[in-house]
């Protein structure tokens, strides 16, 4: 069976690109002929073809095309309609535009146009709608897709590569001291909850540990400069600028070191389709404290301290408890490692993918 992987923009640096490339490799190992189609490529992604040629590759009715849908792309619907083969929509979730209101009209428009494609894609009647989480699939279920035409496959990831990377000793030395260390991982975007994060950290610093520090790993988007400015303004207002460290474009070794020195990964995102940093933290044994919004609860399961309300004092007290309670730390670490093994390891993902491909055998 010919399997075409269709991605509008394929990058080796983001979660969508990682999922598409690893999925292609796994399907090829299952014995199918695979080709990747991308309009634009960034970084080292291997050989790709232009999307227009996909109709010449997936020609038989038994062939399969998997479209990775993460934002609006005007060519998607005409291409998918022109195909005579079976189709899967792999949905990575599009952030609702409300999060970007007041920060970036460009992002608002992009999110609106992206989410506007959900209904027509649902009406296409594709053979399968494959979400990275059950939360993701809610958008297509709300658009009328039959639940029997849906399935969940967590995103392929490079957590294994992170775990086996050589840690950056300089970063460990920089942040290794008796003081508490909070960690946040994720690009600086309004839905990621950075304002709540700095509030929670400030509360922690005032009440529990005046020497605590917050390490924020994530790239700032120039198109969201007002949001980045708001974060820094809040940090200044709270008087914690000396304790907050921003890291961007880190290597695997630096990221691993950040997880290793952290007392906890604090994830206060208000909207997540999966949240790969949770998996990374669990794999590296870093306890997780978070706000149970979006797919965070389904990703972390019972391996994290999650709260249904976004209360900075709850998050601060949670990190304090983790720091003081060795048995709690151990419990969360063991649960996290077990969860990775059962659900998010490469073996588990390939197993789930094989079950999905069985539908198309």
């Amino acid at each position: 069976m010919n399997v075409g992987i269709l991605v509008p923009v394929l990058s080796d640096k983001d979660a969508v690109g990682t999922d598409a490339l690893e999925m292609a490799a796994a399907i090829e190992r299952l014995g199918h002929r695979v080709r990747v189609f991308a309009q634009t490529t960034i970084g080292r992604v291997g050989k790709t073809s232009k999307p227009a040629s996909i109709t010449e590759f997936a020609t038989a009715p038994d062939d399969l095309v998997i479209y990775h849908f993460s934002y609006g792309w005007p060519h998607a619907l005409p291409l998918l309609r022109a195909l005579k083969c079976r189709r899967i929509v792999r949905y990575h979730n599009i952030t609702p535009p409300k999060f970007f209101e007041g920060y970036s009209p460009e992002y608002v428009a992009a999110c609106e146009s992206g989410r506007a494609e959900i209904a027509p894609l649902a009406e296409l009647g594709c053979e399968l709608y494959l979400g990275a989480s059950a939360f993701n699939l809610e958008d297509f279920l709300d658009a009328g897709v039959d639940p029997a035409q849906t399935a969940v496959l967590p995103p392929f990831n490079r957590v294994d590569r992170l775990v086996h990377a050589q840690a950056d000793l300089a970063l460990i030395d920089r942040f290794r001291s008796g003081a508490s260390t909070w960690l946040s991982v994720g690009r600086l975007a309004p839905n990621k909850g950075h304002l709540d994060l700095v509030d929670a950290f400030a509360a922690y610093k005032r009440i529990h540990d005046a020497h605590a520090r917050l390490v924020v790993v994530g790239r700032a988007d120039p198109r969201l400069s007002s949001y980045t400015g708001a974060i820094h303004a809040r940090i200044d207002q709270l008087g914690i600028a000396d304790a907050v460290h921003f890291l961007s474009d880190v290597s695997d070794g630096e990221l691993k070191s950040a997880y290793l020195v952290a007392d906890a990964l604090v994830s206060l995102s208000e909207h997540e389709g999966f949240c790969v940093p949770l998996a990374e933290a669990m794999a590296l044994g870093t306890p997780v404290v978070g706000y149970a919004a979006g797919a965070v609860a389904s990703t972390a399961g019972n391996a994290a301290l999650l709260w249904d309300e976004s209360d900075p004092y709850l998050f601060a007290a949670s990190v304090a408890r983790i720091r003081d309670d060795a048995s709690l730390r151990q419990l969360l670490r063991e649960r996290g490692l077990a969860r990775i093994e059962d659900s998010f390891s490469m073996e588990a993902l390939v197993r789930t993918l094989a079950e999905v491909m069985e539908r198309f055998a």
């Binding site: 920060y103 509030d199 303004a233 709270l238 007290a317 419990l331």
Partner: protein
């Protein structure tokens, strides 16, 4: 149903929530500014009183005044300025009024009952001469209140002094505890130092063992190198020996090839000799056969003679009996066959054999004794033999064996010059009896019966 660890986690979360609730009251966070820098509408306390505001003292008074009147934390400069004013003796009323009637305070418009007149009075007190008179009058009017306030202050100070003394005692107790713990820590540090020294000693011992092992290894490597050298020398000698063997084998192969060639040559020679011998024998047989057939043809009485012999044979053995002839002749064999006997013959002459076969007779070419020896005991009723046969004595012995009891032996062409004596005595000694001689028709035959 929750597992035990889930219940444990739920309990922990309850404790965390309680901790968070307590923290919220202790360290409130300031309101967030809207993004873009615009200040959000402050959530100020609507309305207050001079008594409420003046209840606090020092930094707490300034902080509370800012929060209540301006709805925000005091900025660093403002805070420093107000604290300096307090330190310089400025009254709280004046400070409260300065904040309330500032541009920011006017915008917020927090009502504070009775502030304006008292603020004006405070400001009036700053005027030269008139201000002093005003302050004196205010002080005189306020004297009873001041005395009451002083007594209350004395009482409050006494209470606070007691509280402070108790707090100091608690601090001293904690300091003593800290000293004890510090002593414990020092002791533990000493223990750790001791352990470290012990570990260092073990490390030294391990390093020494490592050095010894390295030394042994060097020695072992040297010995191994010597053995390898000796093994290489032996291997070289073995190679030389094998090369010598190969040379000998090569030479032997050459000799073998030469011998093979010579053997082939010898075989060719033998084959040539055997071929020549066969040809010579064939020519000899042809010549002999020609002479014998010519002799028979010239013997005019031969046919009759053979017929008479045939009658004698027929009188001795039954019809269809097995008769074998050696050397009497193909015409004799034909006579026997005509009489109905199962007649066969052995012929040593290839030409005569060929002649007899052409006549349809049962004749075998070969040495008589050899072929007769292959016959079973008592397998013939009669055996006829020419007296001139080369192996007569041997054939006589065989005749006794192959003839049946009562069988007939005929010796034909018995002459005085025959090489072997064929007398009744000889035949009797050979196991035969009742000899009968037929001398007629130009030939003699002797008939005997096997006993």
């Amino acid at each position: 149903m929750n597992s035990e660890s889930d219940d444990h986690l739920d309990r922990i979360k309850s404790e965390i929530r309680a901790d968070a609730d307590a923290s919220r009251r202790r360290a409130p966070l300031p309101e967030r500014m809207m993004h873009g820098g615009a200040v959000d509408a402050p959530q100020v306390a609507r309305g207050s009183s001079i008594a409420e505001l003046a209840r606090h003292a020092g930094p707490a008074f300034v902080d509370n005044a800012y929060r209540t009147i301006l709805g925000r934390e005091p900025d660093a400069e403002g805070f420093a300025r107000q604290m300096a004013a307090l330190g310089a003796g400025t009254g709280k009323i004046e400070i409260i009024g300065d904040l309330r009637y500032s541009e920011e305070g006017r915008r917020n418009g927090v009502p504070i009952a009775g502030l304006r007149p008292r603020y004006l009075l405070a400001k009036l007190g700053r005027l030269p001469v008139l201000g002093a008179i005003v302050q004196w009058l205010v002080a005189f009017v306020s004297l009873p209140h001041l005395l009451r306030h002083q007594r209350a202050t004395e009482a409050s100070l006494a209470v606070r002094f007691g509280e402070t003394a108790r707090a100091m005692q608690a601090v001293e107790q904690r300091a003593a505890d800290v000293e004890r713990r510090a002593a414990d820590v020092e002791q533990r540090a000493a223990d750790i130092e001791q352990r470290v020294a012990h570990i260092e000693q073990r490390v030294d011992e391990a390093e020494q063992r490592d050095a010894d092992l390295r030394s042994d290894l060097v020695g072992a490597v040297g010995e191994l190198s010597d053995r390898l050298t000796r093994a290489e020398i032996a291997a070289h000698e073995l190679r030389v020996y094998i090369e010598g063997l190969n040379a000998n084998v090569s030479e032997l192969r050459q000799l073998t090839l030469t011998m093979n060639h010579w053997t082939v040559q010898v075989r060719h020679s033998i084959d040539a000799i055997e071929t020549a011998e066969a040809e010579r024998r064939s020519r000899s047989d042809d010549a002999a056969a020609t002479a014998i057939l010519a002799s028979r043809a010239s013997d005019t009485q031969r046919a009759q003679r053979l017929a008479a012999w045939g009658e004698e044979i027929a009188a001795r053995i039954p019809r269809s009996a097995a008769v074998i002839d050696i050397g009497v002749g193909s015409d004799w064999l034909a006579t026997l066959a005509a009489r109905g006997f199962d007649a066969s013959a052995i012929e040593t002459n290839s030409a005569l054999h060929r002649e007899a076969r052409e006549r349809g007779l049962d004749v075998t070419l070969g040495t008589a004794s050899t072929l007769l020896a292959r016959s079973a005991d008592a397998s013939f009723d009669a055996l006829t033999i020419a007296a001139t046969s080369d192996e007569f004595a041997v054939l006589l012995t065989e005749a006794q064996r192959v003839l049946k009891r009562g069988g007939c032996l005929m010796v034909a062409d018995v002459k005085s010059e025959t090489p072997q004596p064929v007398t009744p005595d000889v035949l009797e000694a050979g196991g035969f009896r009742d000899p009968k001689r037929l001398d007629a028709l130009g030939g003699r035959a002797l008939f005997v019966t096997r006993t």
